[in-house]
């Protein structure tokens, strides 16, 4: 694996690793690792460093919904224009152009079922290019960004194996 990709893999798994720790792990000088990370940040390859939160264990627990949006593509712009308009709403967590029976998959996070429903009917559905929407509420999260939410913390192995 290229060192740059190896650094990305390590940070994607644990963004709290320091450049010094990574340098030891991949056997490169710390200055080189720092420079590589800086260039990845400048090139917008690393877009941010965030905590992966299981909100279901908090009082804030928001509602997440997956919205299938069918869109009439616009001349010269395809789906980009409408996608960018949808992305501007802060409730929109993710937005992807899809192959298959609908065009945009929009993931919404809001305080309640009603908030999500209102958002879709008031903000997404009325957009001119939008032909139809289909809303699916997420009931339970099992795995997110590669992390299993039901993973056991305890080491199942024996205490000492020689």
């Amino acid at each position: 694996m290229e060192k740059r990709e190896e650094i990305l893999n390590l940070l994607e798994r644990n963004a709290k690793l320091t450049a010094a720790e990574i340098a030891v792990m991949i056997d490169r000088p710390v200055e080189e690792v720092e420079a590589t990370i800086a260039s990845l940040e400048n090139a917008n390859i690393i877009l941010g460093y965030r905590a992966l939160v299981n909100w279901e264990k908090t009082v804030a627990a928001p509602v997440t919904a997956l919205i299938e949006v069918r869109v009439a593509p616009q001349r010269d712009q395809g789906f980009d224009n409408i996608a960018q308009r949808i992305c501007r709403f802060p409730q929109v967590k993710d937005c992807y152009l899809m192959s298959g029976s609908f065009d945009l998959m929009v993931i919404i996070e809001d305080a309640s079922l009603k908030d999500v429903a209102m958002f879709v009917s008031e903000k997404i559905a009325p957009l001119e290019a939008v032909i139809s929407t289909g809303t699916h509420f997420i009931l339970k999260k099992y795995k997110m960004n590669g992390t299993e939410f039901f993973g056991q913390d305890d080491d199942p192995r024996e205490a000492v194996i020689l």
Partner: protein, 393 residues
């Protein structure tokens, strides 16, 4: 009736573990500590191998296999040994599938050792060697591998230990607990000592897949003249993270494998069918998993070695297995005292070096078969702990 009077001399000859107290303490604190004390991969068996086991059960393959193991698996082992180590073994007579590498070690010793035969065991080493020899009535002759020799067996040490009564030499490299690897020229030098002696070799190569650049594993059986007096013990536990499946194998000349199979067929009958079918998939499709695990181990290895040195402990660079074996003598403590205090005060379990032979005293075994998150936490605590120990002196 005192039942102890009924125990055989051989079974009573096995000494109790040197680290009994540490064992008890570690078991008591299990679940509350970070365990770097475990000699098995933290990885779960890769999912396609697990599914092969499930498929085997779903198809109702719940019967005995041939004593030696399914021929398809033995053929796959033969291909694997050729592909990975340039060694040729005939699947029909020179390969035996066993219940883990441990069974194979015991079988080979029982097949060749007579009461009074001497067996050379370089230490520190895996804990079963000495006991297997004692159970067979043999006499273990240990050789201390030293830190100043990078924990490798020196040819002159081997030469000095040979006597007319020597029957067998153990070679456990890549080594548990030190992580030492023997390079080609070093294996050749050892072979040179043995060449004109009537002795056999048990090459325990369970960790052969886990070596890190610039090191690579070289089997003594690959040295001209050595194949026909060597039995290689290998398995799936370490390379494919399959410890709980209990499956390993031995490769060697027909006479030796045949004798081992005779004991195996009466003591064990055959290896688990489910495990054999999963192991077949491991050999056919598992290479990419081995590579990925090795890369991850290597990152952890570098991190732990550096952390030990930063903590003030001299540490030989291990290029094999998944252990680091730092020298804790600057703390003035014994290995057991060090590990017991580290466990109680910092809630991290590591293993006293003397568990692996007397010459392991003054060292500790740190296993990096654990998550990077836990390793980082444990190494921060090691630094704090060693700092306190050295200050007190």
């Amino acid at each position: 009736m005192n039942l102890n009077d009924f125990l055989s001399t051989n079974s009573k000859s096995i000494p109790p573990s040197a680290i009994r107290r540490f064992f008890d303490l570690a078991n008591e604190m299990r679940g509350q500590v970070i365990s770097l004390s475990i000699g098995e991969p933290d990885f779960v068996t890769p999912i396609d191998i697990r599914e092969a086991g499930i498929r085997s059960l779903e198809q109702g393959n719940t019967h005995y296999s041939p004593n030696q193991g399914f021929i398809e698996l033995r053929e796959a082992i033969s291909d694997y040994m050729k592909r990975r180590f340039q060694l040729r073994y005939d699947a029909s007579h020179e390969i035996l599938v066993t219940v883990g590498g441990s069974e194979a070690i015991d079988l080979f010793v029982r097949a060749v050792v007579n009461p009074g035969d001497e067996v050379i065991i370089p230490e520190p080493c895996f804990v079963s060697y000495k006991s297997c020899v004692l159970l067979a009535g043999g006499i273990p002759v240990t050789i201390p591998c030293r830190q100043e020799d990078d924990f490798k067996l020196r040819p002159e040490q081997l030469q000095a230990a040979l006597t007319p009564r020597t029957k067998l030499v153990f070679l456990g490299f890549p080594n548990n607990p030190t992580g030492a690897v023997l390079e080609k020229n070093e294996v050749e030098a050892l072979a040179e000592v043995l060449r004109n002696q009537p002795v056999l070799v048990l090459a325990d190569e369970l960790y052969a897949e886990l070596t890190y650049e610039p090191a690579s594993h070289c089997s003594i059986a690959a040295v001209p003249g050595m194949r026909d007096r060597t039995v290689i013990i290998n398995g799936f536990s370490k390379a494919f993270a399959m410890t709980g499946w209990r499956i390993g194998f031995a490769c060697g000349p027909q006479e030796l494998i045949g004798a081992m199979n005779k004991i195996h067929q009466y003591a064990i009958m055959s290896s688990p069918t489910t495990a054999q079918e999963a192991a077949l998939v491991a050999l056919r499709d598992g290479e990419n998993h081995v590579v990925a695990m090795r890369e991850e181990y290597n990152r952890r290895r570098r991190y732990v070695v550096q952390a030990c040195r930063d903590a003030g402990l001299a540490c030989f660079e291990p290029l094999g297995a998944f252990y680091v074996f730092p020298d804790i003598r600057p703390t003035g403590m014994t290995s057991s005292a060090f590990c017991e205090a580290f466990l109680s005060e910092e809630k991290v379990a590591i293993v006293p070096g003397n568990a692996f032979g007397d010459c392991g005293e003054g060292f500790v075994r740190i296993s990096y078969a654990a998550s990077m998150e836990n390793i980082i936490k444990a190494m921060q605590r090691l630094k704090a702990f060693v700092g306190r120990c050295i200050q007190h002196d």
